[in-house]
């Protein structure tokens, strides 16, 4: 087994173990109001961070890519218009693709 294979398998084991760890934590640990509130807010905070990073950065530099910004603006417009989920995705990707075509 090469060193790269070892790295691949170690990464896989680590990533899977981290997922499983969260599922096997005894539920009573989350019964405290603060812990529960934290667990509820974590997806919002992390996903918002992910949105910001994926929209406004490239590698380690801040970057305002016009097509990407336009795609996200289209997503916001679709959300304000209360379009269904898949329509929001199509509007965002379609807008970005269209702008890159031009």
């Amino acid at each position: 087994m090469t060193a790269v294979w070892a790295a691949v398998l170690a990464t896989a084991a680590g990533c899977y173990g981290l997922k499983l760890a969260g599922l096997v934590v005894p539920p009573r640990l989350l019964e405290r109001p603060l812990a529960r509130r934290f667990a509820e807010l974590v997806p919002v905070a992390l996903l918002a961070a992910l949105i910001a990073v994926q929209t406004l950065t490239s590698g380690q530099s801040l970057q305002a890519d016009p097509a990407r910004l336009a795609g996200m603006a289209a997503a916001v417009a679709a959300l304000l218009a209360r379009l269904p989920f898949l329509a929001v995705i199509v509007a965002a990707a379609g807008t970005a693709a269209l702008i890159r075509l031009c």
Partner: protein, 253 residues
């Protein structure tokens, strides 16, 4: 399997719906998201092979790690000639947000035994976002499994295709696929951003922290730094937490 799994307090039906919305469509939305995001496995597969991984190694990561950011991190480190240990460390660090997601989903999924071993593999950004956006616990579970199943299949097939065809595809950016992820996440947390001030504070705080840290830290790490924003807001609003502030989508929790 579903007996006494979650903390009792979070299983109640919502006392107050967030707002009148279209009926939940967890299966359709989950499959749609799985397909749209899974296609970006093409980009991962191609990037992994051009980084120096073999096709088998690229596919093994998708099959066994199944968390895009970590996979890109390992491939990226290998590509720039970084040490394998550093690559593994950053990949695993990036996977740590899935632990937080799993904590959140444990009560909702209520899985035991083999189902839990399987469900753990599926705890990632997309499945968490889709599951936590549902109005009921049953819909949350359906959404989780529909998203997980579709995304796992699509991501792995796309990885294989991308790895085999590395260099022969146009850029996924041409199709606007790089916007699919952020747009989907925004759509999924949208109702929660509208439902409460604490949610908006956590979201804004997380986004600002990540952007501020992005120039100084390796890709992926800034996102994890957003977790303290959730903790700070949870602490600041702890008085209201006990009385069930977030009753809006309580059932999904």
């Amino acid at each position: 399997m579903a007996d006494q799994a979650g903390p009792p307090a979070v299983q109640e039906t919502p006392t107050e719906p967030t707002e009148p919305t279209a009926p939940a469509t967890p299966v359709r939305d989950g499959i749609g998201l799985g397909l749209a995001v899974g296609v970006s496995g093409l980009a991962y597969g191609a990037a992994a092979v051009s980084s120096g991984l073999t096709v088998g190694q690229a596919c093994a990561l998708s099959l066994l790690a199944f968390t895009g950011a970590s996979q890109f991190a390992l491939a990226g480190t290998i590509a720039v000639g970084g040490s394998l240990a550093a690559g593994v460390a950053s990949a695993v660090l990036l996977g740590s947000r899935n632990t937080l997601y799993a904590l959140r989903l444990a009560g909702t999924l209520a899985v035991r035994g083999p189902a839990r071993v399987l469900a753990a593999m599926g705890v990632i950004d997309e499945t968490t976002a889709m599951a936590t956006a549902q109005p009921s616990r049953a819909a949350s579970r359906t959404a989780f499994w529909a998203t997980f199943g579709t995304l796992y299949l699509t991501w792995n097939l796309a990885t294989l295709a991308g790895a085999l065809g590395a260099g022969r595809f146009g850029s996924p950016q041409d199709l606007g696929l790089d916007v699919v992820g952020p747009a989907a996440f925004l759509a999924l947390i949208w109702p929660r951003l509208r439902s409460g001030r604490a949610e908006r504070m956590a979201g804004a705080g997380g986004a600002l922290i990540a952007l501020a840290a992005a120039p100084f830290l390796p890709p992926g790490v800034p996102v994890i730094l957003a977790a303290p924003a959730a903790l700070a807001v949870a602490w600041a609003t702890r008085g209201r937490a006990a009385s069930g502030t977030a009753a809006g989508d309580g059932a999904a929790r």
